[in-house]
């Protein structure tokens, strides 16, 4: 097998990106060989955007409002949104993250019609005091469902311990109490602030005719007027670089304990810096904690982990962190093993063979992901939201190919330290 640094990559499809007059960025990836088309319309507005300034006025919103708004966008007196997509055989859904809200459909025919419906239902809002009130019971059940899930709960508890002030420490859906406080007026203000086309992106991949869809989008948008884009200033309290707590144990009715360790980035990143740092961390974490590391095998041999043990990295504009963990009978022992492993590698550096192996593996995984429309679109939207507007998959491949061992070692010493680390665990109550 040859070296991953010299693989030449030609994408198996064309990508077309342009900006409309109203500021909306559109990316099309036509792939006529596929049945499915996956389309996503997303705004740079998530749960962390709870305080902002527009026209010189500061607004502070109840927690969970971006997610609440996502639910209410499906309310439309003119049409039942789910049924409208269903009538022509597509399914529609949405999700809210810390920094964006995304609406998407997946369909196999009449794509032009569905694209129009997607744009239309997200670009109109129909709120009444009554339909806002009605949603509160549904969201309360969603919050209960999430709170009953030990992995999700463990993840949110870790972020609570990691952050003093940054709203990433608050659950995306808010709390049953904060959701109760949400009003129609607040929802409308957030909608008109964050759903202007200049704050949004539309990405479509799959079996459709690119010229036809481009025309449908242009015509649909030309018919609507949105006014001037609002100048949005997002307000975040000062966040110290050290974690709020270094240890956090949560008792929960769970059958087996879970350890989750986190390392906090002092800053977020955007654009090409974000792609570069994200890629460096992906290789680094695989070399350190992946199934091919001697460390992973020793943890398996000692019965400290199962094959679900994993490491991951998140980097956004205003926050970033590494997470490592999984099921373990002995959270404290595992945490100590991970700490001393890191101390050792910080001192001696990452093994070059392990680094090259990780690079090669991740290259193959990126190539395989090109078969997955939904994955492609979601990734594209996430990078867009985080400031990599002119991003292309070729950039990720290029970064992957030019990443150096020195850079990974520098990242290791800069980020995976003891003083920015949080050790948390979910243990049986």
């Amino acid at each position: 097998m040859s070296d991953a640094r010299h693989v030449s990559l030609e994408l198996p499809f064309e990508t077309r990106t342009w900006k409309l007059e109203n500021g909306l960025v559109v990316t099309l990836m036509p792939r006529p060989e596929l049945h499915q088309t996956y389309a996503m319309f997303a705004t740079r507005y998530g749960s962390i955007d709870r305080a902002f300034r527009t026209d010189g006025k500061v607004h502070e919103m109840p927690d969970g409002i971006a997610h609440f708004l996502e639910h209410k966008m499906f309310e439309d007196p003119e049409m039942d949104v789910f049924a409208r997509f269903a009538a022509h055989g597509a399914s529609v859904d949405a999700y809210t993250t810390f920094d964006h809200t995304a609406y998407y459909f997946s369909g196999t025919g009449e794509i032009a019609k569905h694209v129009g419906t997607l744009l239309d239902f997200v670009q109109s809002i129909h709120l009444t005091d009554e339909n806002v009130e009605k949603e509160k019971g549904i969201i309360a059940q969603e919050i209960h469902m999430v709170n009953d899930h030990p992995d999700r709960r463990g993840y949110m508890e870790l972020l609570k311990a990691m952050y003093h002030e940054h709203p990433v420490r608050i659950d995306i859906a808010g709390t049953v109490e904060s959701v109760q406080a949400i009003t129609k007026e607040q929802l409308l203000l957030c909608y008109h602030t964050f759903y202007h086309p200049s704050n949004m992106v539309l990405v479509i991949a799959g079996g459709f005719d690119a010229d036809e869809i481009a025309r449908v989008i242009e015509e649909n948008q030309a018919k609507k007027s949105f006014g001037k884009p609002p100048a949005i200033e997002r307000l975040y309290a000062e966040e110290p670089s050290a974690p709020a707590r270094s240890r956090h144990w949560v008792h929960f009715p769970v059958q087996q304990p879970r350890l989750l360790m986190g390392w906090k980035e002092a800053n977020g990143a955007s654009g090409s810096n974000l792609i570069e740092q994200d890629t460096a961390m992906t290789i680094l974490l695989d070399a350190l904690f992946g199934p091919t590391s001697a460390f992973y095998q020793s943890l398996l041999d000692d019965g400290l982990i199962d094959k679900g043990f994993s490491a991951g990295y998140q980097l956004a504009n205003t926050f970033g962190y590494t997470l490592v963990g999984g099921n373990t009978p002995h959270p404290d022992v595992l945490a100590e093993r991970i700490q001393s492993h890191l101390a050792h590698v910080r001192e001696h550096g990452i093994d070059e063979t392990a680094f090259e192996r990780a690079r090669k593996k991740i290259m193959g995984r990126v190539l395989m992901s090109l078969d997955q429309n939904a994955f492609l679109v979601r990734n594209w939207v996430t990078y867009f939201v985080r400031g990599a507007e002119a991003f292309a998959f070729a950039d990720v491949i290029a970064v992957l190919q030019t990443m150096t061992l020195e850079r990974a070692n520098a990242r290791l010493r800069e980020h995976l330290r003891d003083d920015n680390m949080v050790v948390s665990a979910v243990v049986p109550s």
Binding site: S91, T108, M145, P291
Partner: protein
């Protein structure tokens, strides 16, 4: 659209499907056999044991090193169940890497996949005493952890009660009390039994340069490594459909747990399974009832009365059970149950709007068409057909939906009989 070519090699069958849209190549080996109380736990452990090491690659790490060297080729071993059948699967997904010799990559991935299933010896690799001890502990924890996903656990309990005393009522992972007693030698015997007795189906989907050659090599390699004859012929087709006529009394079981939410699972027997002519009508009926976000249950329980965030009904194709699920507050249990019964009665009376019918058909058609883009789904659909003794392709299923009339769905709804209500009450979930 999607027609698998089958090479019948006696001991095993190799099914291939060239697919120009996929750059990732998918190979899967499936071993299936009837579940039995005394064997279920050891069978469930085998895929984990396989992944812990072979004769040639005696540790999990060595297996991972080999796949990383193939550009992160995925290699997995898993256990699943379909009605009363256990399915042990070894699968691999091989990337298409520009400039690399495709045949060499595929051949090495195929070697790995085959060796994972057959290259074992008592006392070696995953079957070494130390590895077995570790796997026993992991399996014990796996069985306990089923309780941590409350929605999945409640559904499993509901189906176990509905299919009590049949193979379909056995849990996928087996029983904790069996794990302790297992000796390494016994586990290796169980492995040999699976190779000897299971029905074996191999699949290859994607852009392979020489698909026929690959199919022949796969059949040849399997024939060389598997015992020539089954020592006990497994039943290839066994019906797991729960029959309304043979039902015990309706059972209502409530268990309580520390949780914020209450899990509500109500199972009905339809008497119709995957291979039956009425199956497309059952799927349509379920779609109207609670299959989608435009369905009766979603509209009435969630959208109109705000009683749940999650509310669905779904068909288990092997047992023919139609199960309604909702995550609710404990004190809303009777109200939710009443709405479910009212909506089912509405379908029985034929109250299905033209729009509801069309939306359901279009959404189902879309769902099946999307499966045509997913190699793993194409393989799973075909294999379900093998187990159910049905040769209906996805394209035929899509065509069959067009033939279903609302009165067919009403007739199936009328035939539905409740078998079991299982409620996992969250102690913190009273509103």
């Amino acid at each position: 659209m999607e027609s698998f070519q089958t090479l019948d090699a006696g001991r095993c069958q190799v099914h291939t499907l060239p697919h120009p849209a996929f750059r990732t190549k998918e190979i899967s080996l499936k071993f299936h056999l009837r579940m039995a109380r005394e064997r279920v736990t050891e069978e469930a452990m085998l895929p984990g044991v396989w992944m812990n090491g072979t004769i040639g690659l005696p540790s999990h790490r060595q297996i991972a090193l080999a796949t990383d060297d193939l550009y992160g080729t995925y290699l997995r071993a898993s256990i699943s169940k379909r009605g009363g059948h256990h399915i042990l699967e070894v699968g691999t997904s091989v990337p298409d890497v520009p400039g690399e010799d495709e045949a060499a990559l595929v051949e090495r991935a195929l070697d790995l996949a085959l060796s994972l299933a057959v290259d074992h010896a008592a006392g070696a690799g995953g079957f070494s005493e130390a590895a077995v001890q570790r796997e026993k502990e992991l399996h014990r924890r796996r069985i306990r952890a089923v309780r941590d996903d409350k929605a999945a656990y409640a559904l499993q309990r509901c189906h176990q009660i509905a299919c009590r005393d049949t193979p379909a009522g056995l849990p996928r992972l087996g029983f904790e009390e069996d794990v302790e007693a297992l000796l390494p030698d016994r586990l290796y015997e169980a492995h040999q039994q699976v190779l000897a007795q299971a029905e074996v189906h191999a699949y290859a989907v994607g852009q392979f340069r020489d698909m026929n050659g690959l199919a022949e090599r796969l059949a040849d390699r399997l024939a060389k490594t598997l015992p020539e004859k089954r020592t006990m012929r497994a039943e290839a087709v066994a019906r797991d459909v729960v029959l309304p006529a043979e039902l015990r009394d309706f059972e209502e079981v409530t268990e309580a747990e520390e949780a914020q939410q209450t899990q509500f699972d109500l199972a009905f027997a339809s008497g119709v399974g995957f291979g039956d002519a009425e199956y497309p009508a059952l799927v349509m009926m379920n779609g109207v009832f609670g299959g989608f976000a435009h369905s009766k249950l979603f509209m009435n329980i969630r959208e109109r009365r705000s009683l749940a965030y999650s509310v669905w009904s779904f068909v288990d194709a092997a047992t023919g059970l139609v199960t309604v699920y909702a995550g609710i507050s404990a004190d809303k249990r009777d109200e939710v149950r009443q709405i479910m019964e009212d909506e089912l009665d509405a379908i029985r009376r034929g109250e299905i709007a033209v729009s509801e019918w069309q939306e359901t058909r279009a959404t189902l058609r879309n769902q099946y068409q999307q499966m045509l883009d997913q190699p793993a789904m194409l393989i799973a659909w075909h294999h379900h057909g093998v187990i159910a003794g049905s040769a209906r392709t996805l394209s035929e299923m899509i065509a069959a939906l067009d033939q279903v009339r609302p009165e067919d769905a009403a007739a199936l709804a009328t035939a539905l009989r409740p078998v079991c209500l299982y409620v996992l009450e969250g102690r913190g979930s009273r509103a």
